[in-house]
Subunit: 236 residues, 2 copies
């Protein structure tokens, strides 16, 4: 298996994605939210780019969720805080989710054979799912405003670490992936601290979302692997 890592959504050229399995990563917070929502029993998560689109697609019983500038969108049922996606709220309901960076990355990933959502919360499960798909793999770090985001790179390194542990044959990892693997290994055990020190983490903490960061840093707390089917993420 060949593994490539894309450092931010802006770098996600089509030729690096087609014929591969893609794992989209947006640790703070879109893919952590998606994992939490499906783990809590949501029927599916439909990622969309705009608020208008989200409203237009809403059917009775659907939940509208998402953020702009980290905050819940006015009139929406939920923001983008993983701890709010509890069974009492989301069970058996479809969630329409619009976020700043993660949704764009998901759109870019559509050319892949299979699109999965990865986070620190489901890193090992995502790695196992990727191995089972027997394709080359591209990890797409969403980043923040077209720049690299530390937490997404850290998660890419974590998933590569797990892939190497689980694989029968050694994977070929590109330079950026090997750098992220080294970065993860220097940080394992201090994931919360690393997330709190990242640019997005500092911003979220200042806005009162420290609890979100805590949850997003809980590595392997979930076995849910969200997988795109049509336009909706469901449990694989």
């Amino acid at each position: 298996m060949h593994i490539e890592v894309i450092s931010n959504v802006n770098e996600a050229r089509a030729d690096r994605i087609t014929h591969r399995t893609a794992i989209v990563i947006d640790v703070l917070r879109a893919t952590s939210t998606i994992v939490t929502a499906l783990e809590a029993g949501a029927a599916g998560v439909l990622p969309v780019e705009t608020v208008l689109e989200a409203r237009a697609l809403q059917r009775p019983y659907d939940l509208l969720a998402g953020e702009r500038f980290c905050r819940k969108i006015a009139g929406f049922d939920l923001g983008n805080s993983p701890p709010d996606f509890i069974p009492e709220t989301v069970k058996n309901r479809r969630v329409i989710l619009t976020t700043t960076n993660g949704t764009r990355a998901m759109q870019k990933a559509l050319r892949a054979d299979t699109v999965l959502a990865g986070s620190l919360m489901n890193g090992s499960a995502a790695a196992r799912a990727a191995i089972d798909l027997k394709r080359d793999l591209v990890l797409i770090c969403s980043g923040s405003h077209d720049e690299f985001a530390l937490e997404d790179g850290l998660c890419a390194g974590f998933i590569i670490d797990r892939l190497q542990a689980f694989s029968q044959t050694p994977a070929e990892v590109d330079d950026f992936g090997n750098a992220m693997l080294g970065f993860y290994r220097s940080t394992a055990g201090r994931l919360s601290e690393a997330l709190l020190g990242s640019a997005t983490g500092r911003r979220l903490a200042k806005m009162g979302f420290a609890r979100d960061i805590e949850q997003c840093a809980k590595s392997d707390c979930s076995a849910a692997v969200p997988k795109l089917q049509g336009d909706t993420l469901v449990l694989g």
Copy 2:
């Protein structure tokens, strides 16, 4: 001091460079060659983009050096192998150097207040020079063919590690810089091995340049800090 790291020459936008000190990094091999040449007593190194330009600028007593596809250019005095830049050959002579990636990064860096050349060989010295300049700092990883190169990221992490050790006040490091710092810290003590495992390192080793990699991996073997004066790198 604020420190940013640019992952490859393609990402080097002007607004990230102006009013700052820039350290250009091309570990395999341009900036390692430049450090070695000046350490060996070369009068200066003039980086140029094309072979034609190099030939046109040559004056009596100048040496022509450079590579295309890793190999010495036909008719040139030297390739881009640091071990070849010995005092017997280069002392008091100007070297006109054209390489694939490092020279382009140097051109992009021209908007900075001061441009230095950094490598593993002179990392601590480059860090001290940057502190003395009392400006915000941008580390420009040249990369390879518009992609991130492991060895340049590793060197950026090394220089940030040294900056943090030498600085009186803690530097503010961007997300990519912190990731490279973590990567370096997970790799320190195994620099040769890391370089040999990089995409460029593997290519160079296959072409018979393993000795170059060994030399480029010798951290802090030089106190030379090449500094751009006009269009020529000289000892700062």
